[in-house]
């Protein structure tokens, strides 16, 4: 049994190596682009409303609602509007990733102890200085945690993007499902899982680099 599985999988890689690598690279590309856009929007949005508590509450509520909508539903709902291919997939993945980044940035920026802020101001830091030298660096661990959550969600959900023709590792799985080929499903699933795991590890490394004081 084991021997047979190994044989089938080795055979797959021998004949489909280029295709496989292309799917992996597409998967990573889509994920990275979506994460990048979501990070810019999430952090940028949070910075824009950082002085406005009302706006923060409203946006947080909106995003909280967003998160309940399953990513597959978003993808399929987007087809009539944006058609198929990479663009709607990117859109859906970005939509999925903005909330955790936005919300973690908001709570990160308020995480500094009031006494830390008080001494910063008391020593003569300006409002800007207090923000960029104290509040912002102290928010970084939480922001990074948000980016990590988002990245892992994106990598997993990008699998579904194959459903609307965006490519990526989801293709192997969907092909496997269509053909009742367990070997393909297995290869696809293990690949996605490995990619998620690596994403987590890379971002943990970034955490060590960006948060040296913990």
């Amino acid at each position: 049994m084991n021997g047979k599985w190994m044989e089938v999988i080795t055979e797959y890689f021998r004949t489909n190596k280029d295709l496989y690598l292309e799917m992996v690279s597409t998967h990573i590309k889509i994920s990275l682009i979506a994460l990048l856009i979501a990070t810019v929007i999430g952090i940028g949005g949070a910075l824009l409303v950082s002085g406005n508590e009302r706006a923060q509450k409203i946006l947080s509520a909106v995003f909280q609602t967003f998160r309940v909508v399953p990513s597959l539903a978003v993808l399929i709902l987007l087809i009539p509007i944006m058609g198929t291919g990479i663009m709607p997939a990117l859109f859906a993945l970005t939509l999925l990733a903005v909330p955790p980044i936005f919300m973690n940035t908001i709570s990160g920026l308020t995480s500094a102890s009031p006494f830390t802020i008080e001494t910063a101001v008391g020593m003569g830091m300006t409002k800007r200085g207090t923000f960029w030298k104290v509040k912002w660096p102290l928010a970084r661990p939480m922001i990074l945690a948000g980016v990590k959550t988002a990245a892992i969600e994106i990598v997993a959900s990008a699998t579904l993007a194959a459903k609307i023709g965006a490519g990526g590792l989801g293709e192997i799985i969907f092909t496997g499902l269509g053909l009742y080929r367990m070997d393909l499903i297995l290869i696809g699933a293990v690949s996605v899982a490995t990619l998620s795991l690596m994403t987590g590890l890379i971002l943990d490394g970034a955490d060590k680099l960006l948060v040296p004081w913990k």
Partner: protein, 255 residues
Amino acid sequence: MNAITFTNVSKQFPKTNYKAVKSVSFEIEEGELVTILGSSGCGKTTLLKMVNRLYDPDEGDIVLFGENIRDVDPVVVRRRIGYVIQQSGLFPHMTIEDNISTVPKLLKWDRKKQQERCRNLMELVGLDYEKFHKRYPHELSGGQQQRVGLARALAVNPKIMLMDEPFGAIDAINRLNLQDELKKIHRETNQTILFVTHDINEAFKLGNRVMIMNEGKICRFDTPQNVIRQPGDAFTQSLVQSAMDQEKFWREYRD
């Protein structure tokens, strides 16, 4: 010249129906170490924070070295004044060296001068530079953190230091050491220090004058000797009495 002059200063917080500080007036000469004593909520912190414009008074004038601080940019006022609080307020994301160099950095000193100053300051407050300068605050004990807080406030040798229960959360032995070190620093620098404390022994040991506050007002402002000899009003009397009772308690158990 007077270092600090308050004239009829009052402060009432929004949404309260009483004045936290009620028409307070006093004068402090350069080089004095004044301790402020009083029960919780009597307005000590409020009074202190008006000196570095963390709060602005509703009425009255505060003059530092002849200059009415209402006319000076708060940021400028604060950079001239050292500020230490009980919770230390160290920046958790900065090393001890960067914490201590906060104000020198704001004033754009060159790096070499910053480092030299940091080294001297750490020695002054009894912390080994090599051992500690690269650590982060959470890698220090509470007492060591408080020493860093003190060093940080002393960094640009401010003429005025504000200290709000700086040794409040430190064990008795470290506290005594820190008190002695503060006295030594004060002798060497001739700074004007306002020192808030709940501890009557600390107040009388450190202060060349003691300011006793009750319900937003100053009830006594005099040398420790005079206050002990002639407490005057009822509140000061009960305060002095409580310290004596404590002393008696110790004596009884020892003999």
